[in-house]
């Protein structure tokens, strides 16, 4: 299963379809809190890849959320915090099976994402690099193949 952690459900649909055409199962998780609840307990055998959007929503009710506006810099780096939490909670899956997917153009944010990706030894994909879903699907398939030792 490929998990997309991104609130922009409609804009992901076509990527999900592309992955499905390539033979993968894919699921969208809309916010960081739901993602943590589900992925902190997910079994390694059920995960092909977790694609985390960095500018990511959290649960609307702040009282039930792990993530605050201050902590996440106005939710611009929620994805980075989510991966930190998942790496502690479920080390058999994270960070190894995660990648970042971002639309960030702000230099500071891009640098932060890059630092985190290097720290965990994971890939960082830029949405702007994919004008077609086809190439996105191709890259994701390649990453999964590498993770599986292929």
């Amino acid at each position: 299963m490929i998990y997309f952690v991104d609130e922009d459900y409609r804009k992901l649909r076509v990527l999900v379809s592309e992955l499905k055409i390539n033979g993968f199962d894919a699921k969208i998780i809309r916010d960081a809190d739901t993602a943590f609840a589900e992925l902190s307990e997910v079994d390694k055998s059920n995960v092909d890849l977790v694609i985390i959007d960095v500018m990511l929503a959290a649960k609307v009710n702040g009282n039930t959320s792990k993530y605050s506006r201050e902590q996440t810099d106005d939710y611009h780096k929620t994805g980075l915090l989510l991966l930190d939490d998942l790496a502690l909670a479920n080390p058999s899956v994270f960070p190894k099976y995660a990648i970042y997917l971002t639309h960030a153009s702000n230099d500071v944010l891009v640098k932060n994402i890059s630092i985190s990706a290097n720290k965990y030894g994971i890939k960082m994909l830029r949405k702007k690099d994919y004008d077609t879903a086809y190439y996105f699907g191709e890259d994701v398939a390649k990453i999964i193949k590498e993770l599986n030792g292929g």
Binding site: E7, D8, Y9, R10, R13, V14, S17, R30, D31, M55, L56, A57, A58, K59, V60, N61, G62, S65, R69, D74, Y75, H76, T78, H103
Partner: protein
């Protein structure tokens, strides 16, 4: 000695006046303190051909032949030689021309003190004028013994007053600029300030160079006198106009042009409208330093006509003085910077508008193509059913972009063209369709909006609005309702209701979404503001939609207000059409 020190201190204090007020204040002080019959204060014209009377105390102004004094006079000689001159027999002196003053006031002696501006701490100076003292007593006073110290005090005080004048002009010019939203109104305001203030010019114009058309274009004027009827954009100069003061000054120099009794002013191509016949012109280049401070480039010219001096019941056109040129040069620097900033901004807006135009055309064409394919059933024929959403999504995104651009464009306008429309037929029906279609593409489990036929909407009176602009407002409300719905329940229910009074129709738009937190209700229309829960749900939003929508409603003489926060009810107030 004590009285001398007291006078020096008082002279220093006079430097707190600006350079326009300083001459009168100083001459009055000197006449009263030094036992003089009179005192006159002259500064040199910018072409250094005449001394111009700036202030005096003790004489009637009507007694002067002219407020301009040639340099072949005692005062002129003192100015040229930079030395204090004493003349003890004015009645016989050939250099003293105002003999009527000598007879009327019994003048015997004159002391001419050269006046300078101090340039630095080493007391390097620039000569700018002369102060003339007319002692009462014929016997020797102790004045000559401390005249040099007095001279230094006057120079320092006048230097301060010139700086003070510059600061005052800067304050006025900067306030004129900050009150303006576009270049031409800023320049026009600057001219008004110059006209009303201490420089006492009679008319002025500002020309700026248009790189594209390669000509100096008139941007602001107090009024141009032309022989034939010309459009404003025709009142320009180009490289064929060598020899005209305005074009010559654009090449980088200050040009002074002045008529003499035998010669009509070496005229410019177009001249300002003045009450008196044009006598003098001063044209100064407007320059701006390059961004790396390595060079200065001329951007245009400031042209001023006729320096006016009014002393009591005497009125005369005189030359511009060196200080006038100094202050106007300073104003030119500010104009250079201002015009650069405004033109830069206006160019960017123009580029942006062109890009918007191109993008809008492309989007429009894409939408039309998709529509065409949909209407002719071509899409269904080759697209697998479960992937048909891609076409609908694409169409909706294109729609979104186009509408966001339109909303931005409309909210930036200063007015919108309004017409009488049917609110329900032209706008609300489309709002309902938009809601239903968007809810479908967003896979919302339960999406419902009030049926217009059940709410009496078809009986609403006609309103005065711009259909497309009003539609962008309702579209924004629909998008917000859908975007900020309760995701856990994945439902969105919108209630529409209406109210009518003698002037307006009010549409109440209520959704059952995440609501607005208490305390945020006063900020929802502020530019860029986003509530905590809105950011949590959609971090990428801009917080501009409601701001722009409110602005659009104001442009249509209506309004957009928040009535309640839980549930959120927004009220669109639309002006009724006159019957």
């Amino acid at each position: 000695m004590e009285s001398c020190i007291a006078l020096l201190l008082r002279t220093q204090k006079l430097g707190l006046n600006n350079s326009q007020e300083f001459p009168s204040a100083l001459t009055r002080e000197f006449v009263n303190s030094l036992d003089l019959k009179a005192c006159s204060f002259y500064t040199i014209s910018s072409d250094e051909q005449n001394l111009i009377l700036r202030g005096q105390y003790g004489f009637q102004y009507d007694e002067y032949i002219s407020f301009e004094l040639p340099l072949n006079t005692i005062a002129g000689r003192a100015f040229k030689g930079s030395e204090v001159l004493f003349e003890n027999n004015l009645a016989e002196s050939l250099e003293y021309r105002d003999k009527r003053l000598v007879d009327k006031y019994g003048l015997v002696e004159i002391i001419a003190i050269p006046l300078s501006i101090v340039l630095d701490c080493d007391m390097n100076v620039e000569r700018v004028g002369v102060v003339c003292l007319y002692p009462k007593a014929t016997e020797k006073s102790d004045l000559p013994s401390y005249i040099q110290i007095l001279r230094e005090a006057v120079n320092l005080a006048y230097t301060h007053s010139v700086e003070r004048m510059k600061m005052q002009v800067r304050e006025k010019v900067v306030s004129a600029i900050s009150a303006s939203t576009d270049l031409n109104s800023a320049l026009f305001r600057i001219l008004q300030k110059l006209l009303r203030n201490q420089i006492s010019i009679e008319a002025a114009s500002i020309y700026l160079y248009d790189e594209r058309l390669r000509l100096l274009r008139l941007h602001a004027t107090t009024g141009i006198k032309t022989e034939k009827d010309l459009h404003k954009h025709d009142i320009s100069f180009n490289k064929r106009d060598i020899g005209f003061p305005t074009w010559d000054s654009f090449q980088g120099s200050i040009v002074i042009s002045r008529s003499s009794p035998n010669k009509i002013l070496g005229s410019d191509k177009f001249l300002e409208t003045t009450k008196s016949p044009i006598k003098s012109l001063l044209v100064l280049p407007i320059t701006r330093t390059s961004n790396d401070h390595s060079s200065r480039k001329t951007r245009g010219v400031l042209r001023v006509a006729n320096k006016l001096l009014r002393h009591e019941n005497k009125y005369e056109l005189t030359s511009f003085t060196k200080e006038d040129v100094g202050i106007l040069s300073y104003v030119c620097e500010i104009i250079g910077l201002t015009s650069h900033m405004f033109l830069n901004k206006e160019n960017r807006i123009s580029y942006f508008e062109k890009i918007m135009h191109g993008t809008k055309s492309n989007i429009q064409a894409s939408i039309q193509n998709i529509d065409f394919l949909e209407r002719h059933g071509k899409i269904e024929s080759f697209m697998p059913k479960d992937l048909l959403y891609t076409v609908h999504d694409t169409r909706e995104w294109l729609d979104d972009i186009r509408n966001q651009m339109e909303r931005l464009e409309n909210s930036q306008r200063s007015e919108l063209s309004l017409e009488t429309i049917s609110l329900t037929g032209d706008v609300l029906i489309n709002t309902i369709r938009l809601f239903e279609k968007s809810a479908q593409t967003m896979d919302i489990a339960l999406a419902r909006i009030t049926k217009l036929s059940e709410g009496g909407f078809f009986q609403l009176p006609p309103v005065k609005a711009n259909v497309r602009a009003l539609m962008t407002v309702f579209r924004n409300l629909v998008e917000n309702a859908l975007k900020y719905r309760n995701h856990d329940k994945n439902k969105c229910i919108v209630k529409l209701s209406h109210r009518v009074d003698s002037e307006y129709v009010y549409i109440h738009f209520t959704d059952d979404g995440i609501g607005i937190p208490l305390g945020d209700e006063h900020d929802v229309f502020a530019e860029g503001f986003r509530s905590e829960n809105a950011v949590r749900q959609d971090p990428a939003g801009t917080g501009l939609g409601l701001t722009q929508s409110k602005e659009i409603m104001r442009l249509m003489e209506g309004d957009l207000t928040l009535e309640s926060i839980e549930p959120v009810t927004l009220v669109v107030k639309i002006k009724r059409a006159e019957l």
